[in-house]
Amino acid sequence: MTRRICEHEMAVTEAVLGRRWPAACDQTLREHAESCEVCREVVEVAALLREDYDEARAAISRRDVPLPSAGQIWWRAAVHARADAARAAARPLVWGYGAAAACAVGVLAATVGVMWPSVLPLFDGLAAIRSRLTPVAFTTADMVMATLRAELPIVIGVAACLVAAPVALYFALREE
């Protein structure tokens, strides 16, 4: 694409945008524009866009919903700015809640681990009940007991996480 330049381009643009084109502008400029491809293009495009602009501005007053007033914009911006500031100030607290909840889960899991040896004798009481069960029930109960004995700390930890995670999420996301 070759680049064409005309020194009268600005003058022609100003004449069109100033609504002096074609009647109220310089005769020599008009004659030039008739013979210059660049200026003809400028006239065509500028006249159309300017007309569209005038129409769009006039259309604002015909709209069902007028533009908001300066006071409304100011008011909404003020309220919005305050809400943003409050949100920004609360953000560290939200993270604090999340961290506290995570710590609580950790402490709970650790406590279960420490207490586990003292909980084990309770299973001996359950063993007495097991001996009174029928053979089929005995097998099932035995399996459950063995699983519980081996995996209980993990099960309790997972259960604690399942309870605590939604609570932590709630605190972390409620401001959003």
Partner: protein
């Protein structure tokens, strides 16, 4: 702007804070808004083709202007910055998934009531223009509109769009050529 929940007292405090923290007083803002709101709305409307979206983006643009930490040498400088915000908002909107977006030819381009005749011809020309503009690249659309509808200088357009003044003339020239080409294609298509 999103809806926010504040108490009445907080709202009053918000107004007091606004006077302290915004870079201009309410009176200065009112004067600036009266001067710029309509042209900026028209600009956003023509770039997005959606009047309701233009309402939203206009509010967001002024909000961002009020929250900026930039300093302005003059109202013209501030106005250029506002156009830059508006341009960025329009571009951000365009980058969203298509389901969120509205068409570029909107209902607000309906012909105006016929007062002096020639309405049909004018409406047809505007529709041709809208179609041709819709085929342009977003930056070209902005450049052409600012140059030939608003009558902004090359320096102002460069500031508004974040371009180099030295390259603007060539870019504008190319955009104008493309638009003229699309317009003549439309005219040939209409004549057939």
């Amino acid at each position: 702007m999103n809806a926010v929940a504040l108490t009445d007292r907080e709202r009053l405090l918000a107004l007091e804070e606004a006077e302290r923290t915004f870079p201009m007083t309410e009176d200065e803002f009112r004067a600036f808004y009266e001067l710029t709101a309509r042209p900026v709305w028209v600009y956003i409307n023509r770039m997005t083709g959606d009047g309701r979206l233009a309402d939203d983006l206009l509010q967001e643009a002024y909000y961002r202007l009020l929250r900026t930490t930039a300093t302005f040498e003059s109202d013209d400088h501030r106005r250029n910055y506002l156009y830059r915000i508006a341009t960025n908002l329009v571009h951000d909107h365009r980058r969203r998934p298509r389901a969120d977006r509205e068409p570029l030819l909107d209902a607000e381009r309906e012909p105006a009531p016929d007062v002096a005749g020639g309405t049909e011809g004018r409406a047809a020309r505007r529709i041709d223009l809208a179609r041709a503009m819709a085929r342009m690249k977003p930056r070209e659309r902005s450049m052409l509109w600012l140059a030939y509808a608003h009558g902004c200088s090359h320096e102002e357009i460069a500031q508004m769009l974040g371009l180099k003044t030295s390259s603007l003339k060539a870019l504008l020239h190319r955009a104008r050529q493309r638009l003229a080409g699309f317009l003549s294609q439309n005219a040939e298509g209409g004549a057939r």
